[in-house]
């Protein structure tokens, strides 16, 4: 799966290192040290964006650890993908055809103050 260069560049503004890998027919984008909204603990975390349909969600953002901050959410997405354990809250992006950074920002919304 290829993504537009400008969308990748936008991701690099919130994550210093962006990588891609596939597993089991899904493409995942690794966002290392993703900056989290103010007031979150930790302040940055490795995250994994699945930008396509995943377990009933239009896209999903998994975190390397559970995050405290904002209103939080229902941590129902504890999965092992790509040799690592990840956690996600139940959160729908609802709107199709979002850019990658838009997807990330919507997934981070519940962690805003």
């Amino acid at each position: 799966m290829n993504f537009p260069e400008d969308q990748i560049e936008e991701l690099k503004k919130v994550s210093p290192s962006v990588g891609i890998a596939t597993e089991g027919g899904y493409t995942y984008i690794l966002l290392e040290k993703l900056k989290l909204p103010e007031g979150c603990s930790p302040t940055e975390v490795d995250a994994l964006l699945c930008p396509t349909l995943h377990t009933g969600y239009l896209s999903r953002l998994f975190f390397a650890e559970k995050i405290n901050g904002g209103q939080g959410g229902n941590w129902n997405g504890n999965i092992r993908v790509l040799d690592r354990n990840w956690h996600a809250i139940s959160w729908q992006t609802n709107t199709p055809n979002l850019s990658l950074i838009e997807q990330v920002m919507i997934h981070l919304k519940p962690f805003n103050k």
């Binding site: 984008i29 690794l30 009933g56 129902n76 092992r80 993908v81 354990n85």
Partner: protein, 443 residues
């Protein structure tokens, strides 16, 4: 320095591709040479697993005329292979074919010619990897491995071709036992008891399904079991947990302890690795198993487990049952599915779909949630054990079998699901580049 314990795993489809290439005639060389690319993982106990991930043929033009050997390759061919090792951070095995049946042996030329120097060249490029020499035969393999820690070659403890059936090759000599206990299963092959002593089987979940599996594997004589279950017995488990006692309920006995008690009474010499935890928290213990039997409740759990098994080249047998209501009456169904690396996966067989994964948020089954009884678990577990024994011994002589069996519990039959027939022979969801350690491509 003590030799490390090394396993090497090669997917059967890759082996077939390598054989096909090595059998191609060359215009003047009597045989062909190729390079098998690998990745390896070192475990906390110091052991290694090497996973074959690709094959690179030597270009026709990179052979040189040499009347003293079957094939000789130029320095260009070696430089190309070294470049691949550098670019991909992979291991590299010099590979050729002795096209006969049975275990191949290296010739004097193989051991003293240029091959050891080629392997040293690979080590000089990337000494984090294990490199070596391999000789395929029509149905077996010889492997020598070199690492930065070892001066000479090391032999793998187990080499395996991963497919249906599995083909295991052990370095140690096989002591064939004539045990009174197992004489009635001698039709499984003269080496079957050796295999049962040495393969490692993982059971994920020691509940209604897993307890039947554990009990039967003990009866068969399979010694090395790794059993994962983070749960303790409750009253509602006693209707189906084989080996569970009424008195366990008050004691909240961990299920892995019930497993130990049950299995050790049948097979006292069994070597059990009891893991009172989720496999996701102890993934290395799972990764070191040769075959997994999964008795997990959720579809998402199955997908996770399948992905882990595919990455580590482990065949995964899944069993599960459910009870739905159809026209007001309960309908009991179940399945036994085998996910063999390189062959059709659960997605290929339409067992896992985006739709059913999405729907799983709702209840699994609609008869009071998670309906479970002892007899379908017994049928499904027994069927799975039959598949597992065939995978290990190949006693049915079936090759490349796709397994998707459906159970109709209201009638009491297990039959082949049509999806197995129509599933693709090869899987596109788990290609070879997803085997072994994860490599993210930088964007």
């Amino acid at each position: 320095m003590k030799e490390p314990s090394i396993k090497i795993k090669i997917r059967n489809d890759l082996r077939e591709a390598m054989l096909k290439d090595l059998r191609r005639p060359h215009k003047f060389a009597a045989e062909r040479i190729g390079f098998m690319l690998t990745t390896c993982k070192q475990f906390a106990n110091g052991s290694y697993i090497i996973y074959a991930t690709d094959y690179v043929a030597v270009d026709d033009n990179d052979y040189i005329r040499d009347k003293y050997v079957g094939a000789s390759i130029s320095s260009t061919a070696i430089r190309k292979a070294m470049q691949i090792v550098l670019d991909k951070n992979c291991g590299c095995f010099h590979l050729h074919l002795h096209d006969h049946k049975g275990k191949p042996s290296p010739s004097r030329t193989d051991l003293t010619g240029g091959v050891p120097q080629i392997i040293d060249s690979f080590l000089s490029v990337d000494d984090d990897q294990l490199h070596g020499m391999a000789i395929l035969s029509a149905d077996s393999i010889y492997i020598d491995i070199k690492s930065r820690e070892q001066k000479g070659f090391v032999k793998p403890k187990i080499s395996s071709f991963v497919g249906y059936p599995m083909n295991f090759y052990f370095n140690e000599s096989r002591k064939i036992k004539n045990s009174e206990i197992f004489k009635r299963q001698s039709f499984l092959g003269v080496e079957s008891s050796f295999f049962f002593d040495n393969v490692k089987i993982g059971i994920i979940g020691f509940g209604g399904g897993g307890s039947h599996i554990g009990q039967q594997l003990a009866h068969i004589g399979i010694k090395n079991l790794t059993i994962f279950d983070d749960d303790k017995i409750e009253a509602s488990n006693l209707n189906r947990l084989i080996g569970g006692w009424y008195s366990d309920i008050a004691k909240s006995t961990p299920k892995v302890k019930i497993a130990e008690r049950l299995i050790k009474k049948i097979l006292p010499k069994s070597k059990l690795n009891l893991v009172p935890d989720k496999w996701q928290n102890q993934p290395e213990l799972l990764q070191q198993c040769d075959i997994i039997v999964g008795c997990v409740d959720s579809l998402i759990g199955r997908r996770e487990l399948e992905a882990e098994c595919r990455r580590h080249l482990i065949p995964y047998i899944d069993i599960g049952m459910d009870v739905h209501t159809i026209d007001g009456a309960p309908y009991m169904s179940g399945q036994v599915i085998l996910s063999t690396p390189g062959m059709a996966c659960f997605k290929c067989m339409n067992f896992l779909t985006e739709q059913n994964l999405a729907q799983e948020g709702k209840k699994y089954g609609d008869v009071g949630g998670l309906p479970q009884v002892v007899w379908p678990n017994g049928v499904l577990a027994s069927t799975a054990v039959g598949i597992l024994v065939d995978l290990i011994t190949g006693w049915t002589k079936k090759q490349n079998r796709k397994v998707y069996l459906s159970y109709d519990g209201n009638i009491g039959i297990v039959e082949e699901n049509a999806r197995a027939e129509y599933a693709p022979a090869c899987c596109e969801h788990f290609p070879l580049d997803q085997v072994g350690s994860v490599k993210f491509k930088k964007l």
